[in-house]
């Protein structure tokens, strides 16, 4: 027994543009999460596909779904099937790579997204898995030189601390604990910043996020909006 699926709307829903909830709706969410981490439109996007994704991404509309997510579209946006062309018209360089080896995180629907800015000073990304019915997991996150594995389930609260301060970490931890029960927490140090991540048990409500972001303006929340 797991509790990966929490809401009735994980089963009845989402409302989406076809054809596949795991290859289209789910991957769109993986793209959206990558956009949240990157903080906007990238100049370059590289997508590595593994296993089922590598074999069927063309037929299932996975390419346009991921790009639609990276552009910040909702799953029921009529422009979803046009997303790749739209992104290229915006000047975003996009590459899709079908990997021959198995998923590095052991799931048949795995995509690894790398997002970079124009001068390659920012390189961020994630490994996402589409676990069915449009639900996703985020298994690995990269912020420039910091890469760490996460347990998978969302929501994940992320904060990049450029001061790498224990005090800031404690203050954030206290506030996150007040939000609700936590499944996992990590802090990973890099050269330029430390990344704190918290996997939460329940959805983070808008009012709670607002409060967190008032204290930590650049705090990011990886959560699929129902």
């Amino acid at each position: 027994m797991t509790d990966r699926y929490k809401s009735v709307f994980d089963i009845i829903g989402p409302i989406m543009v076809g054809p596949s909830s795991s290859h289209t709706a789910g991957t769109l969410q993986i793209g959206r999460m990558a956009r949240i981490i990157f903080g906007g439109d990238p100049a370059e996007l590289v997508v590595h596909y593994y296993d089922s994704f590598a074999h069927t991404h063309l037929g299932h509309g996975t390419d346009y779904a991921i790009v639609a997510g990276v552009l910040g579209m909702e799953p029921d946006d009529r422009r979803v099937p046009m997303a790749v062309r739209m992104a290229r018209n915006m000047g975003i360089k996009i590459r899709f790579i079908e990997e021959k080896q198995h998923s590095p995180v052991g799931h048949p629907n795995t995509a690894w997204l790398e997002l970079t800015n124009r001068d390659h000073t920012l390189k961020m990304g994630l490994i996402g898995c589409s676990i069915g019915g449009g639900m996703i997991e985020v298994r690995r996150i990269r912020y420039n030189d910091v890469t760490f594995n996460t347990p998978g389930p969302l929501p994940i609260i992320l904060f990049r601390d450029v001061q790498q301060s224990a005090e800031i970490h404690m203050k954030l931890l206290k506030m996150v604990m007040a939000v609700g029960p936590m499944l996992n927490q990590q802090s990973t140090n890099g050269k330029r910043a430390a990344i704190y991540s918290f996997t939460m048990k329940n959805p983070v409500k808008p009012a709670q996020l607002k409060k967190l972001q008032e204290a930590f303006p650049k705090l990011a929340l990886l959560q699929v909006e129902e």
Binding site: G13, P19, S20
Partner: protein, 292 residues
């Protein structure tokens, strides 16, 4: 969270509440949203389902870009009007609703994934014939979806609902099973009977592989939803008649999971084995991938 179907129906029986009520209560707890907000969200899903059925059924129907699927729901509508069908109009209307939805999905139209897009025709196929058969009210239609969702959560958390993880039995099989359980509730059956309907429907589709031609959600996905819907109606009727599953429902769900995990990768949404691997399946793949 309900750990098992047994847990869910024991609670429903003890509290004398329909499963749909338990689901709404749990949703209010986990999301903090009001009952009205949650209800309205489900009404929106219902609306999308109705629109997809209508869109796929009218005129010549809809057709996918590849030309592999489309127009069958419209053919069935025509057939129902002009012929005396062998399996009866209820069954053929369910088939039409299921196929219409999946044809819209294959044509990149808007659907509600229940639980997945590939299996999105199964629940509408079941739901929209119940209106004729047992005069379902709008409220009951919405309740049907909450009940199906409650049972679906148990399946998703104890087994799987993705074709890549467990084959088509995890998608259309799960959709059929939760639809059977929900049909029993709105028809006035007990939670116990819902559990039996779920077990029967799931067991009947156990072992179904995911073998989409060219990796597209078209062949055989669209027609499989016809079987998902009708299998659910048969299972629901059997349960209401008092037939029970010899294997307890939660064990049926574990069996489905185990069968799914032991399926070779070629039969789990990779577009390689089964129908996708046939001579024609391979030819179509080659042709379509070159056109794209």
């Amino acid at each position: 969270m309900y750990k098992s179907v047994e847990d869910l129906i024991d609670t429903a029986t003890a509290r004398r509440k329909p499963v749909s009520d338990l689901m709404i209560e749990q949703e209010m707890q986990t999301t903090g949203l009001s009952r009205d907000k949650i209800w309205q969200k489900m009404e929106r899903n219902l609306e999308v389902m109705k629109k997809a059925v209508a869109k796929g059924s009218q005129g010549d129907g809809v057709h996918s870009k590849t030309g592999l699927t489309g127009g069958d729901a419209a053919k069935i509508r025509e057939y129902r009007q002009t012929h005396h069908s062998l399996s009866g109009d209820t069954i053929m209307k369910a088939v039409q609703g299921a196929i219409a939805t999946n044809e819209v999905n294959a044509a990149m139209g808007i659907v509600c994934a229940t639980p997945t897009a590939g299996s999105s025709g199964t629940l509408p196929g079941i739901l929209f014939i119940l209106k004729d058969r047992i005069e379902l009210s709008h409220e009951q239609e919405v309740r049907f979806l909450f009940t199906a969702g409650a049972f679906g959560l148990v399946i998703a958390n104890n087994a799987c609902i993705a074709g890549a993880s467990g084959g088509c039995q995890a998608e259309v099989g799960s959709a059929s099973a939760i639809g059977a359980a929900a049909a029993v509730e709105v028809a006035g059956g007990t939670p116990e009977e819902s559990a039996n309907a779920l077990a029967i429907a799931m067991a009947n589709l156990e072992g179904l592989v995911c073998d989409p031609v060219a990796g597209l959600v078209e062949v055989p996905c669209v027609k499989r939803n016809a079987i998902g819907a009708t299998n659910a109606l048969v299972a629901a009727d059997m349960a209401l008649a008092g037939c029970t599953s010899r294997i307890p429902v939660d064990e049926v769900i574990s069996a489905m999971n185990e069968v799914g995990r032991s399926m070779p990768t070629a039969l789990r949404e990779t577009g390689q084995g089964g129908l996708a691997g046939t001579k024609t399946g391979q030819l179509l793949r080659h042709k379509l991938l070159h056109e794209m």
